[in-house]
């Protein structure tokens, strides 16, 4: 972005960007603003809200069952994100070093772009009581009764990892693709062990990609709705499900808004924190480099 700009006689920048700016202000910022306002309102009798400022909705959230739900959501999100990143790191590495990058990207992107409900449905067909695994095992005579593979927390985590694995692989691949792999050989020549060259040379250099991968897996999983609804049981509901129930069934809009606020704040703080740490790190590395150059 540091390229010198052509000097035009007139500045049309604002005019070019104006339509999109207006669109986002109207259809994104304003709705979020309304949610913030509604979360401080009283619930109307027939749905909707009454214009009375109150903290009722936030007080309602401090309820042990919601607390449990919140902890479970965080736990499921944490486990799924860690698993997805752990799988994605070697995958991104292998893809970056491969000679068939386009083919591999193609293979990762196809399941990723296939309709999410189709993919969830496929897992139901595999894990269900009369699903692929159970029917196959019964046919082979290994089990007599079908195993309860579906409608529990493990199924939710499995399918979440499945759904968001490409989100983790793609940014890690992009970062690794820009990495100069001869540095690894250099590290080895200088006496680093293989794990050392990986953890001290490769990973710090692809850090931005890892951060992006975490953001793009953690946030959608934290707000997941369809996966826990369709492959989870009643006891594996997540925050997203509660919000939707509050909106569509209970029609308690202030409470739904308050929950949305919690999800928004946790996501935003998470993003800012992740980006902040990587920015600070980048600044630190840059500073160290400048110092070294100065010393030379």
């Amino acid at each position: 972005m540091s390229r010198p700009r052509p000097l035009s006689s007139r500045n049309y920048g604002a005019a070019y960007s104006f339509p999109m700016g207006v669109w986002f202000t109207l259809f994104f910022l304003l709705p979020i603003g309304i949610i913030v306002t509604y979360s401080f309102m009283r619930k109307g009798i027939h749905g909707g809200v009454e214009w009375q400022p109150t903290f009722d909705a936030y007080i309602q959230m401090f309820n042990s069952s919601y607390g449990k739900l919140f902890v479970r959501t965080l736990w499921v999100t944490f486990v799924s994100t860690v698993l997805a990143i752990a799988i994605a790191l070697p995958c991104g590495y292998a893809m970056a070093r491969s000679k068939m990058q386009t083919l591999l990207l193609f293979l990762v992107i196809i399941p990723f772009w296939t309709n999410s409900l189709i993919r969830i449905n496929a897992w139901i067909a595999i894990l269900g009581n009369e699903g692929f695994i159970n029917e196959t095992l019964m046919k082979l005579g290994i089990i007599k009764e079908s195993l309860p593979l579906l409608y529990n927390e493990s199924a939710v985590i499995l399918v979440l990892v499945y759904m968001y694995l490409p989100y983790a692989i793609l940014p890690i691949f992009t970062a690794m693709d820009k990495f100069d792999f001869s540095l690894l050989e250099a590290a080895r020549d200088l006496g680093a062990t293989k794990p050392q060259s990986m953890f001290k040379v490769l990973l710090p250099n692809v850090r931005a990609g890892i951060v992006t991968a975490i953001i793009f897996t953690f946030i959608p999983i934290f707000g997941a709705y369809t996966v826990p609804l369709l492959v989870g049981g009643k006891d594996s509901y997540m925050l997203g499900n509660i919000v939707v129930d509050q909106v569509t069934k209970v029609r308690n809009w202030p409470l739904a808004s308050a929950f949305s606020m919690v999800i928004t704040v946790v996501s935003t703080v998470g993003v800012l924190w992740m980006m902040g740490t990587s920015a600070r790190e980048a600044a630190r590395v840059k500073g160290a480099r400048v110092k070294q150059e100065g010393a030379l």
Binding site: P6, G13, Y16, W113, R119, F216, I263
Partner: protein, 295 residues
Amino acid sequence: MNSKPGFNIYGHFLSRLSKKKPTSEPARHARRAFQNLNHRSLSNTMLTLAIAFLFLPLAVTVVYSFNDAKSMVWTGFSLRWYDKLVFGSEKLWTSFGNSAIIALSAGAVSTALGTLAAIGVNWYRFRGRMYIQTISFLPMVLPEVIIGISMLIFFSAVNVPLGMFTIFIAHTTFCLPFVFLMVLARLDEFDFSIIEAAHDLGASEKQTLFRVIVPAIMPGILSGFMMAVTMSLEDFVITFFVSGPGSTTLPLYVFSMVRYGISPVINALSFVMILGTMAIAFILRNFLKNIAASK
């Protein structure tokens, strides 16, 4: 590099491990084995497994779409579910029509707005530039449920009846950031001297835009458009909130099929949709790297 604090806990852990000399013979062997692990073959195996994992459910669905029986017990090859998909699922095709209308219109509008904004932001410095960049980033990082609910509450607050129009608005909103980023990425590779040349040769701003810039970034614009269409066709969560009676889209219809009992017609539909996805990915094969980078 050696005394880097913070992030690299694993690195520290490992370097500590390697400083300590294991005394017993098996431990030393184990350590050497770990250090001599070939990372490339290890990661290649992992990648193969991951791709198998990603394709396994799709493969099972495709295979069972040709199964004669309704259950997951294989009874014989049959095309009856495809027959039912093509000739016996009118509602499904209506919903597909709705989806197509929304995807094309939302794709077109988001591509137009996103491209213009990207040119403006990449080109000029102006007041509100930071605002544009920040606000175009936010919809990507908020969970879909939040965007859906905020839109639902917004439309009901301003008394807009839910239907095709509200879905179009919502889809344009969540497609815009991606188009914007993809065009921006393309502009970053752009040789600016061409524009200077155009200006020097007396081209007006409008001429420069339509005769120089737009043709040069056309691949970026097209892939942004395709991206938007794909995302719109696939979205369920946001659509779920802002749809009204008579505006069922394909994902909404599929949801009701998944939710209320499995009919093998959905397997047949899955295969058709997977083929569609493959076709789109194939058309976009030269931009896959850009797409990966914009995620």
